[in-house]
C-alpha cells in the first residue's frame, strides 16, 4: 500500500494538474531505462476513474514506453527497467506479491497495429474469458462474446460469420475486434497505443465514437499523434517531450492556453 499522506506531496517539474480527485492509477517519480538509456525521466501523474486521458508528444518521446509501464508490458523486454512507483487502487503494481497475469486482466491493452489472433472472430473474443475462467458454460461464454462485440460496435457486422477468421476483417473492424477482445475480460482500464494510426478516416471516426462510449465505464489512456483526436475524445491531455512529462491538464486548456512554451510549440505545429 502506498500511504495516502505522501502521494500528493511530490516534487515535480511538470506544469499543470497531475493530481486527480478520484485516482485509479497513481504514478510517482517513474524512471524507465532501456539498458543504459533513460527513456522516461521522473514522471508523476494520476489517472482518474472513468476518464479518458490522452498522451501526446513528438515520436520517440516515450509515450508508448510509459503506457506499457502501466500494465507491466515492459516486463517482456529484457533490457527494460522501471523505477519509481505505480499503483492501481493504491496497490503497488511492481510489488513482488502482484500477479502480472491478473494485473493485465484488469488493465487491457489495444495496440497500434490491429493484431487479432489467427483464429476465428469468436475465438478471438473468447480467448481472454477462457484463460481467466470467466465463464462456466458455453452459453455464458457466448453471452460474453456477444456483449463484447456489441460494446465494440462490431456485432451487427460479424454476427453471421463468427466462425470466420478474424484476420479476414478490414483494418478498422480488426481494431474493433481487438477492443472487443480487450473488454471481454472486463478490465477496469484500457490502454490504447495509437489505435487509429493504421486506419482510414472513416474507421478512425468509428473507433473514436467507440472510445467515447467506453469512457463511460472504463478509464482509458490513449496515446495519439493526432492532436485533433486528442481534442475530440479526451478530457485530459498529457504532453511528453524527450522522456519528460512537460504539461498535464484539461484538454481544452492545454489546446487553447498551454502554459509551457514547448507545449505551445508542439500544439501549434512547431515541434513535430
Amino acid at each position: 500500500m502506498v500511504s495516502n499522506s505522501n502521494i500528493n506531496n511530490v516534487k515535480t517539474k511538470t506544469i499543470g494538474e497531475i493530481f486527480s480527485k478520484d485516482p485509479k492509477i497513481i504514478c510517482r517519480n517513474v524512471d524507465v531505462f532501456y539498458g543504459e538509456k533513460q527513456a522516461i525521466k521522473d514522471v508523476s501523474i494520476d489517472i482518474a476513474s472513468r476518464e479518458i486521458i490522452s498522451f501526446i508528444g513528438p515520436s520517440g518521446c516515450g509515450k508508448s514506453t510509459f503506457l506499457r509501464c502501466l500494465n507491466r508490458m515492459n516486463d517482456t523486454i529484457d533490457t527494460c527497467k522501471v523505477k519509481g512507483s505505480i499503483s492501481l487502487d493504491k496497490e503497488d503494481i511492481y510489488d513482488e506479491k502482484i500477479d502480472v497475469v491478473t494485473l493485465r486482466a484488469k488493465i487491457g491493452m489495444v495496440f497500434q497495429k490491429p493484431n487479432p489472433f489467427p483464429k476465428s472472430i469468436y475465438e478471438n473474443v473468447a480467448y481472454g474469458p477462457k484463460i481467466h475462467g470467466l465463464s462456466s458454460s458455453k452459453e455464458e461464454l457466448d453471452f460474453i462474446v456477444e456483449n463484447s462485440l456489441k460494446d465494440s460496435g462490431l456485432w451487427e457486422e460479424v454476427k453471421d460469420r463468427l466462425q470466420s477468421p478474424g484476420t479476414g476483417l478490414s483494418g478498422g473492424q480488426q481494431q474493433r475486434l481487438c477492443i472487443a477482445r480487450a473488454i471481454a475480460v472486463s478490465p477496469e482500464i484500457i490502454l490504447m497505443d495509437e489505435p487509429c494510426s493504421a486506419l482510414d478516416p472513416i474507421a478512425t471516426a468509428k473507433i473514436e465514437e467507440l472510445i467515447n462510449q467506453l469512457g463511460k465505464n472504463y478509464s482509458i489512456v490513449i496515446v495519439t499523434h493526432s492532436m485533433q483526436q486528442a481534442a475530440r475524445i479526451s478530457q485530459r491531455t498529457a504532453y511528453f517531450h524527450l522522456g519528460e512529462l512537460i504539461e498535464v491538464g484539461e484538454t481544452k486548456k492545454i489546446f487553447t492556453m498551454p502554459k509551457d512554451k514547448q507545449t505551445e510549440a508542439y500544439i501549434s505545429g512547431r515541434i513535430g
Binding site: 493485465r104 489472433f117 480467448y127 481472454g128 484463460i131
Partner: protein, 461 residues
C-alpha cells in the same frame, strides 16, 4: 590439341569480346555520350553473345559424334562376336575405348586395333570440325553482338533477358533429371512386374529374394524366392514411427525453449550444438546405434525381463529419432521466431502466462511451418538407410513389435544392389520396384501434408 583446349579457347574468345565491348562502351562514354547502361554491361552482353552459341554447338557436336561413332564402329566388330549370345555392346565399346587410350589387357585381337585406329581418326576429324564450327560461331556471333553496341542500345535489359533464360534452362534441367530418374525407375519396375505379379509384390507377406536362382542348401532343388514387400514397408513404418516419437516432442520442445525461453547467449550456444547433430554422418549414428544403444537396450530389457533382439527396431528408431531432431527443432525454431511480436503482445496484454501464449497463440500460428518441418523429418527417416542396416538388421520379419529385428525398404535395396548381381534377375529388378513404391508413398505423403498445411493456412490467416 584436344577438346579441353578448344573449350578454353572458346572461353578466351568470349573474354576478349568482353574486353572489346567494355572498351567500346567506355570510348563512347568518353566522347561525352550518355550511355543507356553501365559500360561493363556492354562487355558482358558481347561475351554472352559469343559464348552461348559456341558452347552449344561445341557440346552438340561432341555428343552427336560420340553417339554416331559408337554405332558406326560396330561395322568393325566381327560377325561371329556380333551374333554370339553373350554379345554386349557396352563391353565391346569399352574394349575399343581402352585401346584408344592405349590401355591393353593381355593379347589384343586384330579387329580391336583396327577399330581403335579408325576411332582415333574419326575423333580427330570430329575435333577439327568442332574447332571450326565453334570458333567461327564464337567470333562471328560475338561480332554481331559487338556491332549492336551503340549509344542507345539497352545492353542492361538484354543481359537481363539472357540471364533469365539461363536460369530457366537450369530449372528445366533439374526438372528433366527428376523426370528421367522417375521414368528409369518405372521402366525397370515394369520389367520386374513382368516376372513377379504386382499383387504378390504389394500384398505378399514374405520377403525372401535370396534364393533366386540358387539351389536351396542340401535339397538339390531350386528354392523359391518370394517378393512380398509388406514386411519391408511395415518395418519402414515402424522405425519411422519410433523415430518420430523420439524427435517430435524433443525437437518441438527444444524449439520452444530456444525461441521463447533461452536468452541470447544460451541460444547462441545451443542452436549450433543442436545443428551439429544434423552434420554427423549417418554411418556414425549407425555404429552408435549398433554398438552402444542396441546392447544397452538388450541389457536393459533383460533386466526387466523383456526379450530384446540384439538388432531391434527400437534401437534403430531411437537413434534415427535423435538424428532428425535438428530438422524439427531448427525449422520449428525459425517459424516460431517468425510469429510476429504483435501476436505475443496481444496474448500477454490479455493477461496470458508465457505458457498460455506459447500453447494458445504461438504454436497455432506456427503450425503450418511446424508440420512442414515434421514432414521433412519423416522423409529423412523413411529414406535413411545406414542406421537401419547397422542397427535394425536385414531380417525381413513381419512384426509390429519394436523389440524385434526388422528391416526397411531402403536397407533391402542396399543389400540387393551391393556386391555381384545379375542385371536381369528378378532379385535385382525388385530393388527398382521397391524404389518406385517408396517414391509413390513419399509423394502421396507430401501431397497430403501440403493439403493439411493449406487447410490450416486458410483457417488461420
Amino acid at each position: 590439341m584436344n577438346e579441353y583446349t578448344l573449350l578454353i579457347l572458346l572461353l578466351l574468345i568470349s573474354l576478349l569480346w568482353f574486353y572489346f565491348g567494355n572498351k567500346t562502351a567506355l570510348s563512347l562514354k568518353n566522347k561525352q555520350l550518355k550511355l543507356n547502361s553501365l559500360p561493363h554491361y556492354y562487355g558482358i552482353y558481347v561475351a554472352l553473345y559469343s559464348i552461348i552459341p559456341s558452347l552449344f554447338s561445341y557440346l552438340l557436336i561432341l555428343v552427336f559424334d560420340g553417339i554416331l561413332f559408337s554405332n558406326l564402329i560396330m561395322e568393325f566388330v566381327p560377325k561371329e562376336i556380333l551374333n554370339s549370345p553373350d554379345f554386349n555392346k557396352i563391353i565391346v565399346l569399352a574394349q575399343i575405348d581402352n585401346a584408344v587410350r592405349g590401355i591393353y589387357f593381355g593379347e589384343q585381337p586384330d579387329w580391336v586395333t583396327i577399330a581403335s585406329n579408325q576411332m582415333i581418326e574419326w575423333n580427330n576429324q570430329s575435333l577439327i570440325v568442332n574447332f571450326f564450327c565453334s570458333i567461327s560461331l564464337a567470333l562471328g556471333i560475338g561480332y554481331l553482338g559487338f556491332k549492336n553496341i551503340h549509344q542507345e542500345f539497352r545492353s542492361r535489359n538484354s543481359v537481363e533477358k539472357i540471364i533469365i533464360s539461363l536460369l530457366g534452362l537450369s530449372s528445366i534441367i533439374a526438372i528433366l533429371t527428376t523426370i528421367g530418374i522417375v521414368f528409369s525407375v518405372i521402366f525397370e519396375s515394369l520389367r520386374f512386374f513382368a516376372i513377379i505379379p504386382a499383387s504378390e509384390f504389394l500384398f505378399g507377406l514374405t520377403w525372401n529374394p535370396q534364393f533366386e536362382g540358387a539351389e536351396r542348401a542340401g535339397s538339390g532343388q531350386e528354392g523359391l524366392a518370394s517378393y512380398g514387400s509388406v514386411p519391408l514397408f511395415v518395418g519402414t513404418f515402424l522405425i519411422s514411427l519410433i523415430a518420430l516419437c523420439v524427435s517430435v516432442p524433443i525437437g518441438l520442445f527444444s524449439a520452444v525453449y530456444l525461441s521463447e525461453y533461452a536468452n541470447k547467449k544460451e541460444r547462441s550456444i545451443f542452436k549450433p550444438l543442436l545443428e551439429i547433430l544434423a552434420g554427423i554422418p549417418t554411418v556414425v549414428y549407425g555404429f552408435f546405434a549398433a554398438l552402444t544403444v542396441a546392447p544397452l537396450m538388450r541389457n536393459g530389457g533383460s533386466l526387466i525381463g523383456l526379450d530384446v533382439a540384439s538388432e531391434s527396431a527400437l534401437a534403430a528408431g531411437f537413434v534415427m529419432g535423435i538424428m532428425i531432431i535438428p530438422f524439427i527443432s531448427s525449422l520449428s525454431d525459425d517459424v516460431i521466431n517468425a510469429v510476429p511480436q504483435s501476436l505475443r503482445d496481444a496474448g500477454y496484454g490479455l493477461g496470458s502466462t508465457k505458457n498460455e501464449v506459447i500453447t494458445n497463440v504461438i504454436i497455432p500460428a506456427a503450425l503450418p511451418g511446424i508440420i512442414a518441418s515434421i514432414i521433412l523429418a519423416v522423409s529423412r527417416a523413411i529414406g535413411e538407410t545406414m542406421i537401419v542396416v547397422m542397427a535394425a538388421g536385414l531380417a525381413a520379419n513381419l512384426s509390429f513389435n519394436p523389440l524385434d529385428a526388422v528391416t526397411t525398404v531402403t536397407a533391402q535395396i542396399v543389400t540387393i544392389l551391393v556386391g555381384d548381381q545379375e542385371f536381369e534377375s528378378a532379385k535385382t529388378l525388385s530393388a527398382f520396384a521397391l524404389a518406385l513404391t517408396l517414391i509413390v508413398i513419399t509423394l502421396i505423403l507430401n501431397f497430403y501434408a501440403l493439403h493439411v498445411v493449406k487447410k490450416y493456412r486458410e483457417q488461420y490467416e
